[in-house]
């Protein structure tokens, strides 16, 4: 007599189908529009010859290439000089408030670029707090020095954090063993942790170069056309000079040029990830570190103080706009009729728009990331290729994204009333890689045992995921949504490219008011954006803390 055999439940392809929404989203709103834009530019612009002519023969375009390389290189160099010692201090020394300092360094990731630029101008620009007291320092409020300074506020924390990660990937056991074998501190540095710390710093430096070479708000607000980067020049060609073919060829050139540092970044970052953490490094006490520890401490304190001063200035300027000005003028001027006339809509509507787009970006990202998490949980072998695909939007700069969306989707959607869709979508696309990472990290270390136990007790895969996995990655998913929300709140470049007055956001308002030299209202709008961003940052931080407690 034959025995009836039950079919063994295998992972079904249907679950992987939940990846389709996120894959389609990236395909339709990033990859296809960009490919068509490049294709159109290539065909209409005369192929390789046209590309060469656009980038090299046209003086302003060539200048923007130089500017990108110059600003990128200078920012990267100074960020390394300033960030490397601070990163070493953070990783290797024990001091009160070490965890808080580390969290503080994440803040610039969520800061709107326009807010930082306004802060730099408040300090070093015409009538700035510092430039008024020491006129020679006004040098930092204009031209390339001002742009580099603004870039540093964002990027020095990157170098600090990656240097610290590099230091921590060195083997604490090997270091201690070397010391007991007679190696001096300098020798231990050379033999044990110089390499890993420099790999970490290099990751931050390469990212700094890429971000600075593609900076948009700082050249626009601090210097003007003579300092335009490739990113700003693409914007000028497409929106001001109405030369879409030249703009698309220049954007293609930018992607090709920056492909090299991006590949270097990916290689260095994967090397850093492979190293992981090799045994805990026990932070040294400052009191036992001779002169070098205090020297690092002073340098790191200056870095933290510098970032804090920029942010504090933005808040202070909104309350005390100018010497002799009325207290709180920055805030009261926001609701004035002059501000409404300049922006085209009342500030209340601007706030509603800002939150509306941020919520849209957060909701879209949240749903897509949740579905992707479920699918990848049951198809872990796909994770590598899916991640690579979903991180492709990192190669697409905000201007390029907005430009391609406008060229491809605006005619299809028709009318200016649908611009809001494109703004929301662009913000979601820009947030997606970061949001995905905040889910992938907790997901990758998650034990399958609770989910398998739930299934063995009769739960379906979805129920098991919901009951056993979601509670353990809940903070990661919420952080992903909050990340998207925060990025949407402060996003300037793509939004500025796409917006029409009824869809003005706070970051666009800051730039518009600054351009029109409404300094009080600019200060108020920047401060408002900063306060909201700080609140979101505080929530993200709280989530992280509770996740750490849960793991402990």
């Amino acid at each position: 007599m034959g025995i009836a055999r039950e079919r063994v439940a295998r992972p079904r392809l249907g679950e992987a189908g939940l990846l389709i929404p996120i894959l389609l989203f990236v395909l339709l709103f990033a990859l296809v529009p960009v490919a068509l834009l490049f294709g159109g530019g290539w065909v209409n612009g005369g192929g390789a010859v046209g590309l060469y002519d656009t980038v090299w023969r046209e003086a302003t375009n060539r200048a923007s290439l130089y500017n990108s390389l110059e600003q990128g290189a200078l920012s990267a160099l100074v960020a390394f000089g300033v960030g490397y010692p601070a990163g070493i201090f953070l990783a290797r020394y024990a001091f009160p408030g070490r965890t808080a300092a580390r969290s503080f360094l994440l803040l610039p990731f969520l800061l709107p670029t326009v807010v930082v630029v306004v802060g730099i101008l408040d300090l070093f620009g015409p009538g700035g707090t510092i430039s008024s007291a020491v006129p020679t320092l006004a040098w930092f409020g204009e031209g390339v020095p001002g742009i580099v300074l603004a870039n540093l506020v964002f990027n020095v924390p990157l170098v600090v954090l990656y240097t610290a990660l590099g230091c921590e990937s060195a083997s604490g056991d090997l270091e201690e063993t070397s010391r007991t074998l007679g190696a001096s501190p300098a020798r231990v540095y050379r033999d044990v942790w110089a390499g890993p710390s420099l790999i970490g710093a290099a990751v931050g430096v390469v990212l700094t170069f890429v971000f600075a070479a593609l900076a948009f708000a700082s050249p626009l607000m601090i210097c003007g056309p003579r300092c335009y980067t490739l990113e700003a020049q693409v914007y000028a060609l497409s929106s001001t000079f109405l030369e879409p073919t030249a703009a698309s060829l220049l954007a293609l050139a930018a992607v090709l040029i920056l492909l090299v540092p991006i590949v270097v970044y990916v290689l260095l970052a994967s090397r850093l990830r492979e190293r992981g953490s090799r045994g805990p490094i026990r932070p040294q006490k400052l009191s036992r570190s001779g002169w070098i520890g205090p020297a690092f401490a002073i340098e790191a304190s200056l870095v933290f103080a510098g970032i804090a001063i920029v942010l504090f200035t933005v808040l202070a300027r909104s309350l005390w706009p100018a010497p002799g000005g009325a207290f709180g003028a920055g805030w009261s001027d926001l609701v004035s009729s002059r501000t409404t006339a300049t922006l085209g809509i009342p500030i209340g509507n601007v706030i509603v728009n800002t939150f509306g787009f941020a919520v849209f970006a957060a909701a879209a990202t949240f749903v897509l990331v949740l579905l992707a998490a479920f699918a990848l949980r049951h198809r872990p072998r796909w994770e590598g290729s899916v991640s690579t695909y979903l991180f492709l939007p990192l190669l697409v700069s905000p201007v390029l994204l907005a430009f391609s969306l406008a060229e491809f989707w605006r005619p299809l959607l028709g009318g200016e009333s649908t611009v809001w869709v494109l703004i929301g979508v662009s913000q979601a696309i820009l947030a997606l890689p970061f949001a995905l990472q905040s889910v992938q990290v907790p997901l990758s270390g998650l034990s399958t045992a609770p989910s398998e136990a739930a299934q063995s007790l009769g739960a379906s895969r979805w129920t098991a995921f919901w009951d056993a996995d979601i509670p353990r990655i809940r903070n990661g998913i919420v952080t992903a949504g909050l990340f998207a929300f925060a990025i949407g709140l402060g996003e300037f470049t793509a939004t500025y490219f796409l917006y029409t007055p009824p869809f003005t956001t706070l970051s666009v308002a800051v730039y518009t008011l600054q351009r029109e030299r409404f300094s009080d209202a600019t200060a108020g709008a920047a401060a408002l954006l900063l306060v909201v961003s700080l609140a979101v940052f505080a929530i993200v931080l709280g989530m992280g803390r509770s996740r750490e407690r849960a793991h402990a």
């Binding site: 056991d173 007991t180 007679g182």
Partner: protein, 321 residues
Amino acid sequence: MPEVLLRIDRLEAVVDRLPVLHGIDLELGEGEFLALMGPNGSGKTTLLRCIAGLEWPSAGRIVLAGRDVTDLPANRRGISLLLSEAALFPNRTVLENVAYAPLVQRRSEAEAREIAAEALAAVRLEGFEGRPGYALSMGERQRVALARAIAARPRVILLDEPFAAIDPEVRGELRGDFRRALASRGISSIHVTHDREEGLFLGDRVAVMLEGRIRSLGSPAELLADPRSAAVARFLGFNVLPEGGGVVAVDPADTEFVDAAPDRFSAQMLAAGTVGRESVGIARGESGERIEARAALDHPWPAAGSTIGVRWTRTRRVASE
């Protein structure tokens, strides 16, 4: 005891604001092998790190060969440390790893090679010179780590659970080889372990550390004959049972599980099974103490859950806590 090489006076240490060591006094003789035993969290590793110069004591002194080294940095103490993780330089060959200390000490390359080759021979790793560290087994890595420590020509080698990550079969062989290599060079060693069999096997003397204090110190035979306190007795595997208003330490081999009777110490049988070449029964006393008895493999144990009487023959009087 041979002439004192290392003396530790009233050493105290605080880690993460918690006091971990409480007035440790300890001496290590020339060429002596001291096993420092204790359960996890008893402060053994902190003591070792203080001696190595990797942790700073909050009070007390460390004197090496008559010289106060308490404030000396780790690289100038002449004390090598070996961890459970071999911590080899991953991008260097075995020879380069072992020659590291001589080169740091500014010896010529030829001299460093000679010292390294000699140290490798001491740990029976001739022929491994050109291999990269990652191509070695765990046991081989630990041998390289010991050779590297020996090549530094230290006065003292500290071993912090060096066999913790090694397979049991290889572990036995390594214990013998380590002991022989260190003894033949007359190097004094402190070997930290929470494995009591390992500590009792290796140590010329054995120190038992509990809650940041050295609670017992002596040769393995002395310690087993007189564990001194109930806590040390428990750590050494004795049953601690009440007798005559005090407590006594009883070897599980001298303990018997019998029928319950009103005049007998009673307990509840928990489980029985085979450990090594013996049969082991485990019961719980009325006050919750764990009682172990050992017998021949074919010994018939009472049923689990039944109430039994406990009888013992040989005892050692110990101080209760």
